[in-house]
């Protein structure tokens, strides 16, 4: 198990955004997370990556480390990377700097070497830059490396955010709606790149996605959230036919007798 949560809870005032979720994720799996808006998917991501503190009684374990109380940068240093629904691109930095800042946890030299500016540093910096340029050309942004990130189009921004998250060579990559707002052609292209990256780096993936086609096609297993609780888990086909899931999305299935009663009142 690379990620494990026990009794994970988070409340904002009286609202229980996440309510006692037990979640387990084996290595090398692609897990989809679906659920209606406001069901706690993004909150779950924020809890796991340490951006929110979880409520007392929760337990989160990542790759053998207890990360319940760890700050985000420590969790990242264990090899957990994530993207954000609202991208959080570094707008005023160049594309290559964006990606290289994602490399931070792997930077090999110490601060004082950088202050003195030894030759070693510049060699290593160049090696990092080369590696990151390779990554950029892999996602197809190499030509734009020196432009500001704010000058990219919507689809390119999504690719850049993906490349930035990959740069730290994570063990687990959590993608928060990677394909939101993309056209169907771009979605297919993006999913292809994600699958290639998974193969290349041996990633474990968690994907929040509203486009069900993506989830059904690519994920090994799916977890469904509703009102902060996990209501179903299993393979895509199992989940698709699950009554609780259908109820959460479309409402309850009624037989004729029940329908008559409901309408009569």
């Amino acid at each position: 198990m690379i990620l494990k949560t026990k009794q994970l809870s988070k409340s904002f005032g009286g609202l229980k955004a996440i309510n006692k979720v037990d979640f387990e994720l084996p290595k090398n799996e692609i897990r989809g997370i679906i659920g209606p808006n406001g069901s706690g998917k993004s909150t779950f991501f924020n809890l796991v990556s340490g951006i929110y503190d979880s409520d007392p009684g929760s337990y989160i374990e990542f790759d053998g480390h207890d990360i319940t109380f760890a700050p985000p940068h420590e969790i990242a240093s264990y090899g957990l990377s994530r993207t954000f629904q609202l991208l959080r691109l570094y707008q005023d930095m160049t594309v290559i700097d964006n990606v290289m800042s994602g490399y931070h946890t792997r930077v090999p030299y110490k601060f004082f070497d950088a202050v003195i500016g030894r030759k070693k540093i510049w060699d290593q910096e160049r090696a990092i830059k080369e590696e990151m340029m390779e990554l950029l050309s892999f996602v197809g942004l190499a030509d734009y490396a020196e432009l500001n990130a704010s000058e990219l189009s919507g689809g390119q921004r999504r690719l850049l955010v993906l490349a930035r998250a990959i740069a730290m060579k994570p063990k687990l990559l959590m993608l928060d709606e990677p394909a939101a707002g993309l056209s169907p052609v771009n979605v297919d292209n993006l999913m292809k790149i994600i699958m290639q990256l998974k193969e290349k780096y041996g990633l474990t993936l968690i994907i929040i996605e509203h486009i069900l086609k993506v989830v059904m096609d690519t994920c090994n297993s799916v977890t469904v959230f509703d009102h902060g609780q996990k209501i179903a888990e299993g393979t895509p086909t199992q989940v698709k036919d699950d009554n609780a899931v259908i109820e959460a999305y479309l409402g309850k299935k009624m037989d004729d007798e029940e329908m008559r009663k409901a309408l009569a009142v």
């Binding site: 940068h73 691109l89 570094y90 931070h104």
Partner: protein
């Protein structure tokens, strides 16, 4: 030429040594009177302060308006060390840098919880508090100022006139700029920039936001401390609390903004331009604040990335066109 470029790339300090040699010949070749050397020293002091301010404000994005207070701490550490212990420049400079670094920590702690204009207000209070503390304390000679701070001497040679002190301030400036370049071009500079752009995302990418924020404050405080000590020992060796008011802070800010916030050359270009303009407009001293205020406003409106960003943009567009054959203008 290519080979020379690659040597500079591997050993950047060679470029600084060349700059040092060129600058060493400037007084004897270019300058016509002593006042110009004095002005050059002022430019160098301002470059050191502005390079430090560029780290914390331009790169790390923490709006600090109390930087002049740190500059004052540097000056007065040097001044009081001379006054009570009779120490000379070579002892006061490192002590001033260390003491100012501690004040930098104090100035940086509010940045954990405050940001933007709120942090500006807190640091403004910090800077003014330091000045008022100096002005109202007999220990610091209050409004009399500290006078006759000696100029440094090295192996029997005394740097006692502006054209000799030029070499001291120039050396310190070269070293400071070298350090700021190597810090900002490494991963540390990138970490600062990510915090400026988005602290939450920076944290999720493995950057310890609090540590780097305080590091930025400490580094810039050390720059301000060094500049302050150089300023205090500058002939005629006189410091007064009125040299560290909000007006000076506005000029420092104007330097960084005009040069280009977050541009590696930003503080340096700005310091040169603003110090010269400041000197030329001395007869119009009533309107100086107006001029610098307008400079800040106009730069932000029409050249948000300052002179440095403006020049960069030009070359970038040229390169992009050459590479892809298409126009890219925004």
């Amino acid at each position: 030429m290519e080979k020379f470029k690659s040597i500079i790339r591997d050993y950047p300090f060679i470029a600084f040594i060349i700059a040092f040699i060129i600058l060493a010949f400037v007084p004897s070749v270019v300058f016509t009177d002593v006042y110009q050397s004095h002005l050059a020293t002022l430019i160098f002091v301002n470059i050191v302060v502005a390079a430090g301010l560029n780290i914390v404000k331009g790169y790390c994005g923490q709006v600090t308006v109390g930087h002049v207070g740190l500059f004052a701490v540097g000056s007065y550490t040097a001044g009081t060390l001379f006054l009570y212990l009779g120490l000379g420049f070579w002892a006061t400079l490192p002590i001033a840098i260390i003491v100012t670094a501690f004040f930098g920590v104090a100035m940086g702690i509010p940045s954990f919880r405050l940001e933007g204009p709120y942090l500006a207000l807190a640091t403004l209070g910090g800077g003014e508090a330091i000045r008022l503390f100096i002005e109202n304390g007999n220990f610091f000679r209050s409004t009399f100022g500290i006078s006759d701070i000696p100029t440094p001497s090295l192996m029997g040679y005394n740097f006692d006139s502006p054209d000799r002190y030029y070499f001291i301030s120039m050396t310190i400036m070269i070293i400071a700029v070298y350090f700021s370049f190597s810090i900002l071009r490494s991963g540390v500079g990138r970490a600062f920039m990510s915090i400026r752009e988005d602290p939450i995302c920076a944290a999720a990418a493995g950057i310890n936001v609090k540590k780097y924020k305080i590091l930025a404050f400490i580094l810039s405080a050390m720059f301000a401390g060094a500049a302050g000590a150089v300023y205090a020992h500058m002939p005629p060796g006189y410091i007064h609390p009125n040299n560290y008011t909000v007006i000076e802070m506005v000029t420092f800010l104007a330097m960084v903004v005009l040069g280009g916030l977050g541009h590696i050359w930003g503080g340096i270009i700005g310091a040169i331009v603003i110090t010269i303009v400041y000197d030329l407009t001395r007869p119009l001293y009533k309107y100086q604040l107006l001029i610098f205020g307008l400079t800040i406003v106009l730069t932000i409106l029409f050249m948000p990335k300052g002179l440095g960003g403006f020049i960069d943009r030009y070359f970038l567009e040229k390169r992009f066109k050459k590479k892809t054959g298409t126009e890219k203008t925004t």
